[in-house]
Symmetry: C2
Subunit: 234 residues, 2 copies
């Protein structure tokens, strides 16, 4: 009754992959929760009270997303904490390996992290039931909140071009560390990896290594667009 | 037009004390922002993911209050950051001197801090213009969010009565450190001190030392009620 499917017609993508969809929501939920905490920490590097307040606002938005995902997991009959647990170590490790040493590194991380999360939400939107898709769309309409960050980084780099090289390296490290954690997740949650990779196929075909490769290529392309927005790539 | 006063009749309390009202809003705004950050930190002491999420939710609520106060300061033509600045050092110092060493100390601090903030909002509600009062009322209707904390502390103390003594001392330290910072603020912002103390007089009479004493007595009474709610006082 609540999943919006007509009587007799099976729910589209969610049914065969319910476990993987729960995994996906658990991954996104914990990613939002931990990014709430890390953004709050990093906001303390802010040079002004106003900047501090703005980054705190971004963190509070992440908390709101966490809350929605958490509630959706409960509605689906899953234990939200159990759904998040497999992703605690990889996400905590990613953050531990990418601790910003300066306000600008914190901004680049917030922008890159928010962008990658957005890419995942877009992938996820193709895979889930209608109700969950509404939630994902709600999260995505709030993206763009991070755009003020790109402008700040661009301005700082324009003032001091050497900074650009250093921050570009930092952005590369963020993604490199992210890829190793993603591999770790894919190894331990093959169902989730398959679900995400198959969504990269416009025909909804089955996942293979080439599909995974194309998925990463798409993520890399949008990462490059974000670097450009920050003035960190030509 | 927006302050709701009739033509010809002067705005009630705000006019003679505009500077002090700005001070009050600046104090509350920075208190909310810094408590957002400290609650986020303390949430990391949580023993479970669910507890972590709940305390993060409390932090996100504080951010929402900060945002409302910040916007109200802007509407009043004040520079929000300038209004907050005098209170940065006293509030930061209070937090630095009351860093919780355990999850339960963190909970007691969150509950006591939230309660004291509520007391201040109630005092403030008597002093401000209609529009600001709506905002303050909005903040107060959200209080009670912290009540789940009292239940958690009470349960822990019931399990281990020795804990009760230690946490009661901790609560006393929170208030003691708070009073020294309040004295510091009162010395540097006499207008604000006078405003708050005069609101303690039901006749709206002028502030004197006795009035300040009675204000502190009222704050102490409600603090004792909170200790009782946590099982830390008989």
């Amino acid at each position: 009754m609540t999943n919006g499917s007509e009587a007799g017609s099976p729910a589209p993508a969610a049914d065969p992959a319910t476990g993987a969809v729960i995994d996906l929501l658990g991954l996104l939920a914990y990613a939002e929760l931990v990014s709430f905490f890390r953004l709050s920490d990093d906001a303390e590097l802010a040079p002004t009270l106003a900047d501090k307040g703005e980054l705190a606002g971004l963190a509070a938005t992440e908390y709101g997303h966490y809350r929605m995902l958490h509630d959706r997991l409960t509605e689906l009959g899953a234990d939200p904490e159990a759904a998040m647990r497999p992703f605690v170590a990889p996400l905590d490790d990613w953050h531990a390996r990418t601790r910003p040493q300066s306000w600008l590194e914190g901004l680049v991380k917030a922008y890159v992290g928010d962008g990658i999360a957005g890419d995942f939400y877009r992938q996820a939107a193709e895979l889930v039931d209608d109700h969950t898709r509404d939630l994902v769309d709600g999260v995505l309409t709030e993206s763009g909140r991070a755009e003020f960050i790109a402008a700040k980084v661009r301005a700082a780099v324009a003032d001091d071009p050497k900074l650009g090289g250093r921050l570009a390296l930092w952005a590369r490290r963020l993604v490199g560390e992210g890829l190793s954690q993603a591999q770790r997740v894919a190894t331990h949650r093959p169902g989730l990896a398959e679900l995400l990779a198959s969504s990269a196929e416009s025909e909804g075909g089955s996942a293979d290594l080439a599909a995974v490769g194309r998925m990463f290529a798409r993520l890399t392309d949008s990462h490059t667009a974000r670097l450009r927005a920050m003035g960190l790539a030509t």
